[in-house]
Amino acid sequence: MRKTLLLFLLTVLVLTSHNLLAQVRNITGKVVGSDGSVLPGVTVVVKGGGQGTSTDSEGSYSLSVPANVNTLVYSFIGYDSKEVAIGGQSTINVTLAANTTGLDEVVVVGYGTQLRRELTGSVATISGADVAQRPVQSFEQAMQGKAPGVNITTPNGVLNNPPVVRIRGVNSISLSSSPLYVIDGIPTYSGDNSATNAPNNPLSNINPNDIESIEILKDAAAAAIYGSRAAGGVILVTTKRGKKGQSKVSLDSWAGWTKPFRLYDVLGAEDYMMIKNEAVRNLNANRVAVGAVGNNVEGFRPSYDADGGLVDTKWYDYIYRTGFSTSNSVNFSGGTEKTSFYASVGYTNQKGMLENNDFKRTSARVNVDHKVYKTFTVGARIGYSNNYNSAPNSGSLSGSAFGTAGLGRLPLVLPPNIPAYNADGSPATNGAGVGAGANVNPAAPASALAPGYYNPVVDLNYNYFTSESNQIQGSVYANWEVLKGLNVRTTYGIDNIGFEDKLFYTALAGDGFSTGGNATNYYRTNKRWSWQNTAQYDRSFGDHSVSLLVGGEQQQTDIQRWGAQRTQIADDFFNTYQGNFTNIAAAGNSQGFNYLVSYFGRLSYDFSKKYLLSFNARRDGYSAWGNEKWGNFYGGGLGYIVSEENFWKNSGLENAVSFLKFTGSYGEVGNSQGVGDFTTLSTYGSGLYGVNATLGYNNAGNRDLTWETSKKLDVGFSFGLLQDKLQGDFSYYRNTIDGLILAVPLSPSKGVPNNSIDANIGSMRNQGIEFNLKANIFQKQDFSWVVSGNFTTQRNEVLGLVTEGQRIGTATSGLETVNYTRVGGSVGEILAVPSLGVNPANGQRMVSILNADGTSRTTVQYNHLGGGWTTLDGQAARTPNQLTDGEYYGPVIPTWYGGIDNSLRFKQFDLNFFIQYSGGNYIYNGTKAGLHDQRFWNNNVDILDRWTPENTGGTWPRVVYGDNVSNGSALVISENVEKGDFARLRNVTLGYSLNPTLSSRVGIANARVYVQVQNAALITKYSGIDPEISTNGASNTGAGVDRNSVGQARTYTVGFNIGF
């Protein structure tokens, strides 16, 4: 690094000493924008290469040029470049026009770049600035609402939990619907890679400040170059590079405070005891009414602390906190004629709203490009990162919704009339569970209440769950311009991560109680190499421009994990794996290997910059498949830029419509993301029978399994109106996925492992429109206002499953099945028995069941242990059944969504507020079911409006102790199905930039301070904690379930950035 700096300084010296040379002219001048503001940092170069400089903070420049130079080129990001003939001038002042359309921006596409103007495919771009300085862990969390066609959901508020990213809908059922992430050309890992309660998303290893731009490839014309991995779209991340002639040092820092938001109101101790004892009285009445003994005890009794005060525990206080976070990044960059570089280091330490939930990242990056000879360039992109994640058992990760330790759930169910700590300061426990306080189990004969849930302070004070990773992700390349326009390039990349995951459970209580304490360590390595070789030929002759790319790529991925679990702690002193325990058993071992070999090509052609054509193709061979390892994929696009036609320009239409392009594309891409490495093999696995080893049939393989195919159609247009003050694009898309891999269910009585066998059998379609608009409403020197927004609709329809009439259930954490996928519906719709509210006559929950004729319905009501299900006239009725009586509520994925971004600038102040919105979906609010359960669980305060003889209009049924049916815990009812529409003020930022004159006086190029609120406000009718919650994580068919997860936090940050 020091060498590079030295080289750089030398180069600067050489450049500035040019004035000493003879036969040169000195040109000076000033560059301003069309609004008259000075433009610092504008690149001024001699046309044809050679000398260059950039403007200073006053917009002034001075450049010595040889006598034979005729033209200077002025360029600046966000402005149209301008060429000026020197002639005899020695002072050249230039005004650059703001390029509001971005039409001439360079867009990164697979294995290359293109001008946005010339694209025929659908590519959305998010600039690095949009994701930098946000209080997030990984960049894709900050992409919410920023791009049309890209739906991102934050499933919960646990730090570094991977967001659910869906590009143009859910594109698979049993494979992954997540996009392929490619960092500087090398595909990387995504999703939670941790084996513990602390999630670890490898994408958080990238410092968002290092990102130059993010491109999202959505349709076949754009994505087919990634062939079999493109079905869910492709996200290309490009990190920053040094720019020729610009030497910059930049410091970015922020600090933030994170708090919980919209927590439920639960009953305090007195109300809790009142409701539960009333429920016991009602139970006794029910028992007596059916001729049984009503001898249950009103066992919910006050506990008192040492001072005689009533114990009224606010469990939230032990679980949530205000977390303080900081982030600091330094980067420096620069470039000479031969070498450019970008280097950065970053450190962030974030504390979430949950106790013990921490995220730390230390990252470093070096990106270098060096011209060895005129036609030969080499370079490297190397990032190293260490991240450390720690989380309590939040009960919010996929699969953990019903844990008795989950911190999302505990403050909702735990009785408030028991203390968290005993008088001696130890946590109040009884066996594994929380202590009962003075509460008595109402069941006769009386004994202490047995809340099976855990005391959260045990988990928070003693247990830990961590995941730490070290990643090296990078590549080196060599590019040789063999002939003019012909570049051959070889790139070799590696992406290696090691994950060290640790967990510890105390023997005192909680999950470690039954094992006598438990320490488990896992180590996982993800190793990947990728070697890409391409040849690209670009040529223009006359009105024809051709660009041809051919290439090959190999990628090998090796994943191993091993670990062991130690149980029965020797002494409470120990809390690490290395401590002494009586037992040890292997845990979490796994091994995977896959290999992808590919050939690909792209032809782009345009005639006169008006008629555009592109064609991509790729042939992939993938090791995971059986008999058919190879697949061919392609995508083609056509474009027509009407506004380039002379008739358009001559007709005066150009004044109103300065740019208009029509595009259309079609292609077939594949999906292999998420398929098991060895899933097509029929295998036997080895286990144990007591002390003896075993060998048994453990996988029913299907050797015919192969790629899912996604047929993508896209038609649209983009436009610029009123000198591009208003510009946007519109497209209609349709993805039809054939050969969906589905686990064909086998009768459990067949006893085949997993009761299923995978086959390419289903089909599904996603379609919708995308609309993107950006308006420069006002653009003056002191004041500007830019509004941009996007809107997407999305309709998913399952076209075919294994058999006609099949419905695929997706269980939440293996216990409750709410989501069902069926032909004609959208994936994972909610199947719930229609609830008809509370019978005002008796306070019983009424639901509607299907009669034997299969069409008409009967209303039945439920009286817990007092007659059960009866018709309204009191006749015994059958028990309602979700599968028979349920109706579908769907879709569970938003049918419309988008974002609105407002940027205002007034003098040195800037204000940005960003609204994200989404809707059209249903949510199963299972948390609400739990919050009205009439076991010993605590309830939401709205239970006070239960039915009583005095309050016959109550919204909740008459409380009966032990009743878990009327509230929906034991039967999925429509009472707990809600609409998920919302608008969220995702981010508000107010900044102040130092006046350039002032800043140059103190020797800095630019300085800005800002304050920011993330998740500032939420408008929704959804009664749960957060309408974005996804308890089933990224499950394709299990979306829209809210079961005991923690919501999103609100974060306040202050920060600054300074550039030198």
């Binding site: 569970g433 040849a535 269910p745 269980a811 979700q882």
Partner: protein, 500 residues
């Protein structure tokens, strides 16, 4: 010219580079072999691998969801000797309070799934053993492998299949006594299933399933080894006496008392000491405490399923975890999922006296409730899960003798008293009627096998009501909840299946 040459060279070089990069791919890598699992083509290649497969059959039957714990627990908690403490649907709440549905996952769906997984492992093994006979030749295999070892393995497999079907019948089908087995039983899967197709199979009748069970047990009895080399194998793998013992249970369940007598006579002598005269010397141990003390390998245990710290029953499956209290100063603790019903068998101080070892050693109190401490190992809960003990054969024989010969049968009385008195129970003198005698045996079984999964069998084989407890009412045989529902997962995939 020079430039042209240079260009030609560069083009050639670059083409070479590109070509090398693209074509050097290693096609072997497209067919990777997993490092931790075997191809199905090689698992019958050596006698050692086949032996491992036999162990695997036992491992499946002893799944924590099946006979490794939950099956025994469910059979007990349905009745009235236990009270649910934790109201946890994951740990048998709905089995206890009779609110199971077709979609109840931890019981209705998982027991069915675990049992049929075991049955298919057995069927796949039997088919593979048959299909690979050509491999059973020297030097890899011993000369008598095909004629002796393989046949023994078949016998073990068929024994386990019989045990699995028998256990399933007790939960998912009406008792044999209800119509002499003419009610719907189970889909009788006897073919190896390894792929798609064949989902549909109707339920055979209860009687037909019993016929298959008895056929398997007959084969097992004829071909199982007489003994194994160690106590642990004699208690954890099936030998001839194991098949005979299970037969006595099957016949008793079918109400075929004469057959019970015939079968039991093969391993129970006419008079004390009650020790099997051939095969493993299964016997009534002098102390029931010893039988349940680690490692539970006395000759009284005819079959139990073993666990180790590396091979645990799995979370929330362990017998000890369900029945031990959460607080037990100086002793082992568990999850306290169920405590003993104060109005259940422990209320009967006549049959289970204050000094009875089965009370003094196996009943402990904690927090005002009584708990069963038969499985006292504590964490990691690796007490063996009992399947059948010698006293069960004795009591089955006793009951069958009373029923066939009347209340005065001396041998029946001796058998009953032998079991009773070894735990300091007061011996019975005489019985006034067959009913009294039989009821005494039934009561003794309830005491002796408390927590071992026998109770439900004893209630249902007589088509008697399941007694109520606390707020939970009794379940009459006419009640649909008397037997478990057929799981929704089966109903959705097997079009020929019928509901209970």
């Amino acid at each position: 010219m020079k430039i042209l040459t240079k260009n030609t060279v560069t083009v050639a070089l670059s083409a070479l580079l590109l070509g090398a990069g693209v074509t050097s791919c290693d096609t072997d890598k497209l067919d990777p072999i997993p490092e931790t699992s075997f191809s199905d083509q090689v698992v019958f290649n050596t006698p050692a691998r086949i032996a491992l497969q036999v162990n695997n059959l036992y491992a499946y039957v002893k799944s924590g969801s099946f006979l490794g714990g939950r099956y025994q627990i469910y059979s007990d908690v349905r009745a009235d000797d236990f009270i649910n403490r934790t109201s946890n649907a994951v740990t048998a709440l709905q089995v206890w309070n009779h609110t199971l549905t077709e979609t109840s996952s931890n019981d209705v769906i998982s027991v069915w799934g675990a049992a049929y997984s075991a049955i298919n492992q057995i069927n796949v093994f039997l088919a593979g053993l048959e299909a690979n006979t050509a491999k059973y030749v020297a030097p890899a295999f011993s000369a008598d492998f095909a004629t002796t070892t393989a046949v023994q393995y078949q016998a073990e497999a068929r024994f386990l299949r019989a045990l699995s079907y028998y256990s399933l019948l007790q939960l998912y089908a009406r008792p044999y006594a209800d119509g002499n087995g003419d009610k719907p039983g189970l889909p009788l899967r006897l073919q190896a299933e390894t792929g798609a197709g064949g989902n549909d199979l109707a339920r055979s009748t209860v009687a037909e399933v019993y016929t298959q069970i008895l056929a398997d047990l007959d084969f097992a009895e004829q071909n199982l080894p007489l003994t194994y080399a160690s106590a642990v194998l004699n208690t954890t793998r099936a030998h001839r006496n194991t098949a005979i013992a299970l037969k006595t249970r099957v016949y008793l369940t079918m109400g075929q008392y004469a057959n019970v007598v015939t079968a039991a006579n093969k391993i129970v002598p006419a008079a004390a000491p009650f020790t099997a005269s051939s095969g493993v010397a299964n016997t009534l141990n002098s102390s029931i405490v010893t039988v349940f003390a680690s490692p539970q390998e006395t000759t009284e245990s005819i079959l139990s399923f073993p666990f180790t710290a590396q091979n645990t029953p799995g979370t929330q499956n362990q017998l000890g975890f369900y029945y031990l209290p959460t607080s037990n100063p100086g002793g082992p603790t568990g999850g306290g999922e169920f405590y003993l019903n104060a109005e259940g068998i422990i209320a009967n101080t006549t049959a289970l006296s204050a000094t009875d070892v089965r009370r003094t050693s196996f009943v402990i109190t904690s927090g005002g409730n009584s708990y069963l401490a038969k499985y006292s190992g504590g964490t990691p809960y690796i007490d063996k899960a009992p399947v059948i003990r010698y006293p069960e054969v004795m009591l089955s024989l006793s009951e069958a003798l009373f029923r066939t010969n009347g209340p005065t049968d001396a041998r029946a009385l001796a058998l009953l008293n032998a079991v009773r008195t070894r735990s300091k129970g007061t011996a019975y003198d005489t019985f006034a009627s067959t009913d009294d005698a039989v009821n005494a045996v039934l009561l003794e079984r309830r005491i002796e096998f408390l927590g071992e999964g026998i109770r439900n069998i004893d209630i249902q084989r007589l088509n008697a009501s399941i007694p109520g407890k606390g707020s939970i009412g009794a379940v009459a045989p006419s009640n649909p909840n008397y037997v478990w529902p057929i799981p929704a997962t089966e109903l959705q995939t097997n079009t020929l299946i019928t509901r209970n």
